[in-house]
Amino acid sequence: MRAACAIVGMGLTAQGIGLGIGSRELRAQAIDLALADAGLERDAIDGYIHTYLDREDLRYMGLSPNFSLSILAGGATPALSILSAIGAIVSGQAEMVACVYGQAQSAREASGGQKIGAYAYGYPSLYGLVGAAATHALHARRHMHLYGTTSAQLGAVAVTQRRYATVRPGTLGYGKPITLDDHQASPMIADPLRRLDCTRDTDGGIAVLVTSAARAKTLRTRPVYILGGGTGHNIANWHRGTVYEHHDNIAPAKTRAFAQARLTIKDIDIAQLYDPFTISPLMQLEAYGFVREGHGGPFYADGGAGPDGPIPTNTGGGQLSAYYTTGFTGIAEAILQLRGEAGAGQLKRARTALVSGHGFNAGVQNTWAHATLIFGNEP
């Protein structure tokens, strides 16, 4: 499966808070941008995968694919949409699959009352647990207890990612640096997570086009090859009683992805890790083996995830400081870096990228879906 397929087109719309563009229109714009990027006509798309939606309006998209498929696996959905696109291509069901996201998230109203089963396994919302910050805070608190991780070290994650975003036009953090003091002064949301530990919802759309490696070589863009992929689900750690030590069940996901890619962790130049909260990339760097278990905090404080560190991570600012297109935020940044199109944020060494997706799936708190993708700019 190594490098069977590649991403040959990407369309990234404006991203931000209160854009005033509807979700459907964001998706339509993203598709048009992706087709233009790849130099393809509309009829080239013969497979369509939409993320988070029940139904898609293909008439409005101006497309006529042979299938239209909906995927919902929390923040792992975008990575899973790409793995599904590979499946469709390798099984001979499509030649060019569009994986599409577009949501006007910042316009979403708070729904108020919630069911006692929300965030469930065990009715935490009955006791006043509200919001994803609180569910991730349970992991952060446990990590602090086990390893002595501090709020300032979580702040180092926020500052590191903001530094990347400050030079990236179109991101929330563009031209707006923050300091550790800013982080420490930001209000507590769900202890130990402060406001600057949290991602904000933004509006935006993105579409990526996946095709076979053979066809990719005939197109005008520099292909981003999908070298490997894998999945893991934290339900296994729930059953083992170790769910709070594990941000996700990364072990099976990374094992499969690296085996397919025939690479080791040392071969990865950059990481784009799903980062709704600062604790998330910190724990993932440990679980992937970039950093020793429990050492994520000092690693960030020492600049390890910065541009000159051992593993530059979330190099466009990530969800925390760039924009929130769920798991597509990291996918888009990996594509830009591997193509050499990241502008002022372009890293010198960006031949391989590890991308993760993580999210609420199967209706239960802390039994998150996880997906790993390994990209390379050579097959």
Binding site: I116, Y123, P124, G131, H139, H145, I189, D191
Partner: protein, 142 residues
Amino acid sequence: MSDHASELLTRITALGGDVLDLPFWQACRDGRFLLHACGVCGRHYWPASRCVVHGDARMRWVAASGRGTLYTYTVMHHAYTAAMKARTPYVVAVVRLDEGPYFHSGLIDCALDDVAIGMRLEATMIEHDNGLVAPVFRPVPG
């Protein structure tokens, strides 16, 4: 089904709870703390589950200790709703029950500064604002 059970079922359904856990909520009214357990291997579960080894055939509700240790927690500071404003800051706890399962709950009789992972806790039943009798946890005295 008794009138009490029927009324509880209606309440649980309206609140978005899982009907499978109804025996647990019924027992809470009588001050009893139950867990779901496998009759083959004795492993305990919460909420209602199929045994990961033995499936559903021998699953039943059994009396449990209602005791455990604080495994992790968060203190809710941000009031997402008007109703939360009157309560914040407050603790949402994850208790590791002595029988094994995690149990999300509230914490009472414990100042915020005294909350510590590993502390011994025991369940006590309270009537929630929504009418449900549910366990909350408090430090084990002494």
